[in-house]
């Protein structure tokens, strides 16, 4: 027989957050755990790739980590390994500044495999809604 908590933890969805900003990581973990999910975190590419072995149900990636487009690269890798894993790319740079990393063209969309782009300042209730939508909850 499985204990009650084990059963609970198995139905809890697990969310991977990758970001090199420790405060952002802390806050995201804080909110997302409050939403009732399990959270694993990674601060760089290498940690992220290891964390993927835990089979998270959704990944939230920072756009600019070690290099300017690390988020894209990681998203690409994830989608190649686990095509069904929903990926959110979070960016601190607003498109309205004219800095949009050129994800507009079809060409780019083809290889940038994110399901959703969010701004880092996003309100936590909005974030919650988006996560539920992507997890089909």
């Amino acid at each position: 027989m499985m204990s009650k908590t084990e059963a609970m933890s198995r139905i809890k969805k697990m969310i991977l957050i990758v970001d090199d900003d420790p405060d952002y990581l802390f806050q995201m973990k804080y909110h997302i755990e409050n939403f009732g999910f399990d959270v694993i975190t990674a601060e760089n590419m290498k940690e992220a790739e290891k964390a993927l072995e835990e089979k998270p149900d959704l990944a939230i990636l920072d756009l600019m980590m070690e290099t300017q487009d690390a988020g894209f690269v990681l998203a690409y890798k994830i989608k190649k390994q686990q095509p069904r894993l929903p990926v959110i790319i979070a960016s601190a740079v607003a498109a309205e500044r004219g800095i949009n990393f050129r994800v507009e063209t079809k060409e780019d969309k083809k290889w940038i495999k994110a399901d959703l782009f969010i701004e880092k300042g996003i309100r936590s209730d909005q974030l919650h809604r988006e996560i539920k939508r992507l997890l089909k909850l």
Binding site: D21, Q27, M64, A92
Partner: protein, 373 residues
């Protein structure tokens, strides 16, 4: 060899075949170019067919007669001008009026060559216009690259400025909603982190100001005879509070009189950045050695520390803008990653050199050599 396409527009067959012949085996080279230019000549009898050829071939140079059977040369020039093509035009004129010459010049004609002309006149005209074209294209390319670098810089900068804002805002939201309860002590670590991030942001802004100084260029530089001993002591005073916190001893070896023609603010920026790094990336109870002395015709600045050191493979990254070395030891140290890039730029301004040697876990030494002029 790069080929430039030349289009000769003239209703006289003799001129057209003449230019063909002259340019057939002609090449042009300049000391600043990697490759010589050779020429491929095409021709047109009328302005109409010239315009048609321009749209179908990538023409570089046009030799254009004004007196043509149909539309006049000046009208062809006008149309080329409107299409803003990357073409250099030279007018061929037998009896140009001043009026036409002025008009052609305003429309961007590069030069005039009088008709009839000798082979040597054609060659020297072509040599000039090729050089002009090359320099024009080069300038444009360099401006373009400059813009791209600037763009990349700005996008990283806005990221660096926004991250701390987001972090502090995030903590404030949590506190506002009292997500961790009514007791303020529950929030202490969030408040501390917010203060740390704000302090780092202030540092970044200070670095930005230093960079702006650099970019505004020579205009605002105040070159004068400065005594580096005095500036060096001031820099030591500036980092002292930080050093005391970690019980780091700063050992100075500063020559009494070291004179240099320099901008004192720039020297201060160099000293401050190196010293603050030597303290920041040091260990508790560590040591910093700071040496400023004259050696022959050079000024030597040496800052070494007993700190965490830098991996060999990371050394080349140090002087790039916004580059920070990420290790367990550095993750709790604040910095913008701009300091050393600024120092490097300043050292370049003085035509000096900066060297770094380091041993992980033992320490790092930065050495700057500036020529005394």
């Amino acid at each position: 060899m790069e080929k430039l396409k030349v289009l000769v527009v003239d209703d006289e067959p003799g001129i057209r075949s003449g230019v063909q012949r002259v340019l057939k085996n002609y090449t042009v080279g300049f000391p600043f170019m990697d490759e010589d230019f050779s020429f491929e000549v095409m021709d047109a009898e009328t302005g109409e067919s010239a315009l048609n050829m321009i749209t179908h071939h990538e023409i570089d140079i046009i030799l254009l007669d004004n007196k043509l059977p149909g539309i006049q040369g000046i009208e062809v020039l006008e149309k080329i001008n409107k299409m803003s093509l990357d073409i250099a035009v030279m007018m061929i004129t037998s009896y140009a009026s001043l009026e036409i010459a002025v008009k052609a010049t305003t429309l961007g004609a590069y030069n005039f060559i009088p008709k009839p002309f000798t082979p040597d006149e054609v060659k020297s005209a072509i040599e000039n216009i090729s050089k002009h074209l090359f320099l024009m294209r080069m300038t444009r390319k360099m401006k373009e690259e400059g813009r791209q670098i600037r763009f990349r810089f700005l996008s990283v900068l806005s990221h660096e400025l926004k991250s701390p804002l987001n972090a502090v805002e995030g903590y404030l939201e949590i506190m506002k909603e009292k997500q961790a309860g009514e007791n303020i002590t529950e929030y202490m670590s969030m408040i501390d982190r917010s203060l740390v991030r704000i302090k780092a942001m202030r540092g970044l802004i200070m670095d930005m100001l230093d960079l702006t100084r650099l970019e505004s260029g020579k205009k605002s530089r105040k070159l004068q005879n400065v005594n580096l001993n005095y500036l060096a002591r001031m820099a030591v005073d500036t980092v002292m509070p930080l050093a005391i916190q970690s019980n780091i001893e700063i050992i100075t070896n500063l020559e009494d009189e070291v004179q240099l023609t320099a901008d004192p603010d720039e020297m201060e920026i160099i000293f401050n950045n190196l010293l603050s790094n030597a303290v920041k990336y040091n260990r508790k109870n560590g040591e910093v050695q700071f040496e400023v002395k004259q050696k022959g015709n050079n000024l030597m600045i040496r800052v070494s520390d007993t700190g965490i050191g830098i991996d060999q493979e990371d050394l080349p990254k140090l002087f790039a803008e916004f580059s920070r070395i990420k290790t367990n030891e550095t993750q709790n140290i604040n910095g913008s990653g701009l300091g050393l890039s600024i120092v490097k730029k300043m050292v370049d301004l003085y035509r000096g050199t900066i060297d770094v040697s380091s041993q992980p876990r033992l320490g790092t030494t930065f050495k700057i050599t500036l020529p005394i002029i």
